[in-house]
């Protein structure tokens, strides 16, 4: 009977083989567990991007994908949103367009997302967004905005209150209207 059976594997060989196999099995199990979990709970914290409560929050957090989720879910990218900032608005709540909020918080990628997915420069304050970027010293965003015909050129910008630039722009745009 023993002649037809496999010879017992040397214990050392088996030990080495088991040692090498252990990480392979652990890796396979880890991948399996995480992916089954991903399939069953796609919204688990481990598997999703940080959550934002509003489009304004997503913009301020520079979370392009989360900001887009609001647009995709039907929020108009031109609809005014309520924001408040200790410096930009001097702590006062104001209504601004998502585009202007992205410029004010200097979130270039979110701004590009908004421009690519329906944001327009219809309002006077949006057309002056380049001026806000100038006031904030963000030449990159300013030149990006001025690629659009409607944008106010640098020489057309009015002087702003440097301590609350966004608030100043909204007030000036309001008085101009």
């Amino acid at each position: 009977m023993t002649t037809n059976q496999t010879l017992p594997m040397d214990r050392r060989t088996r030990f080495v083989a088991a040692l090498i196999t252990t990480p392979a099995v652990l890796a396979a199990l880890a991948v399996l567990v995480i992916d089954v979990w991903r399939f069953q709970s796609p919204n688990a914290a481990l598997l999703t991007a940080p959550f934002a409560y509003s489009l304004a929050d997503a913009i301020a957090a520079d979370n392009v994908q989360e900001a887009y989720t609001f647009i995709r879910a039907g929020q108009d990218p031109n609809e005014l949103i309520a924001v408040r900032h200790p410096v930009l608005t001097d702590g006062r709540p104001v209504l601004v367009s998502p585009l202007l909020w992205a410029v004010a918080t200097q979130k270039r990628n979110v701004l590009l997302m908004l421009l690519g997915h329906g944001a327009r420069m219809d309002r006077a304050m949006d057309r002056s967004a380049g001026c806000l970027a100038d006031a904030l010293g963000d030449a990159n965003i300013a030149s990006l905005l001025r690629a659009y015909e409607d944008a106010v050129p640098r020489e057309g910008c009015q002087a702003r209150n440097a301590s609350a630039p966004l608030l100043s722009l909204i007030e000036k745009a309001g008085s101009a209207k």
């Binding site: 496999t6 090498i20 099995v25 890796a27 396979a28 914290a45 598997l47």
Partner: protein, 471 residues
Amino acid sequence: MGERRDRDRSYVWTAGVLAASAPLLITLCLTLWHTPYPVNEAVALFEDVEKKPPADFLIPDTSYYRPLFQLTLMGIWRNTESLEARLAWIKLVHISPVLLLVILFIWYLRPRTFLDAAVAAVAVAVLVASPGFRDNLEIPLSYTAMAMPIALLVWMLVNTGPRAWHTAVIVALTLIAIGFKEQGLVLVPLVVVAWWTRAPGASRALVVTLATIAIAYVAFRLHWRGKWPVFEQSMGLGFSVLEADEAAARFGAFPFWMYAYNSASTIANVLFSEPTSGLFFITRNLRYGNLQAWEVVQLGSSAALTGVIAWWGIRSLRSAAQGLWSTESRTFLAMLVALLSCGILSFNYSRDRLGGMVVVFYALAAFFALRAAAGQIVAARRPRFILAALALAILAGAWHVRAVGILESVRRTSDANQVGWLVQLAQRRMEFADRPEYLQIMEAMIDQGTDQAVPRPTRYPRWIALTLGPR
């Protein structure tokens, strides 16, 4: 009877390795399947296949000559009705060779013992986790991904007994590989190595045919050489990156040192995972005290494995010096030749993906080398046995960690591709206003690019994330 039992046992262990590799492989393929196409590469490619006549892809008036790849895309694009079906087929063309490569690799190794199977699982991790493999997963750029399983298939054929149809099949496979990208030329020296080391399936007629094809291809490409710039793309040099025009200004008069540097960079990347694109990224972080765990894992595991392969390779060549070529010594020589060939073919700029063809042979060599090392360890005295066995297990563990890291890397690419679709549309609409086909394709692809269900990186705790790869 014994032979049959051996064969049966090989199926069991082969199935075991396949089962251990399946979660990674299936997840990898599913992740690729759900990954959005990149807006910056894919749209222009699809515009080309929609607009240009097929003959345009056959003329090598560019450094990037991939006629068969572009004709394959064109075939799919023009003969499939809906956009969804076109995109699905093109993804399938990319994913299928990836899947085939890993399955063929395991099939070729066909482990017969527990130790073989354990080592084969590590070799699969080496294959999947190597930079040359990872960098060829970028959809839809399946140029080298197509040639990699072909390289293994050709190697399997030349190492089996000669058949009447072998020559025709190997020639056809080589032409396909070269047609997808010039990296397929690596197959020619590989077949020469097989013939020189008396592999049973490599005939003189095959070598002469492939050499003729290679010479004709190179002559055809060189005929159009006048239109090539000295440097095509940016390249790393030490700790900094040079743009192509900057490199041309500095090295244009005598570019050969830079070419040698690029070639050496690709070779070193395969062996040590450093440099990347010629840039000594990990070394720089080490110098400035910014070294991260994944960098230690990558550099350490690659250097250690290369060391084991060098030890085994030199040992296997000793028997070959007496004219006794074995599968092992032939594989080692094939790895060296593939390494050199990939290095030469990447003279203009170094990228991880340009080492893709050699990765197959590096992983094969890893199997033989680790098996030989395990054999030595088993015979060692007790203290050395325990230490060496632990070292081997740590090395195996490091490569499996890297393999899991590849999944995260593919998910990061998917995430980045989606961000590309979100942020690049506005500027592209302006930039490509005079290219209606481009804009039409781009607009039609927005849905797949912005789908909320695209694969995203797992938000592991920081220490795990930093072990798996860059954040």
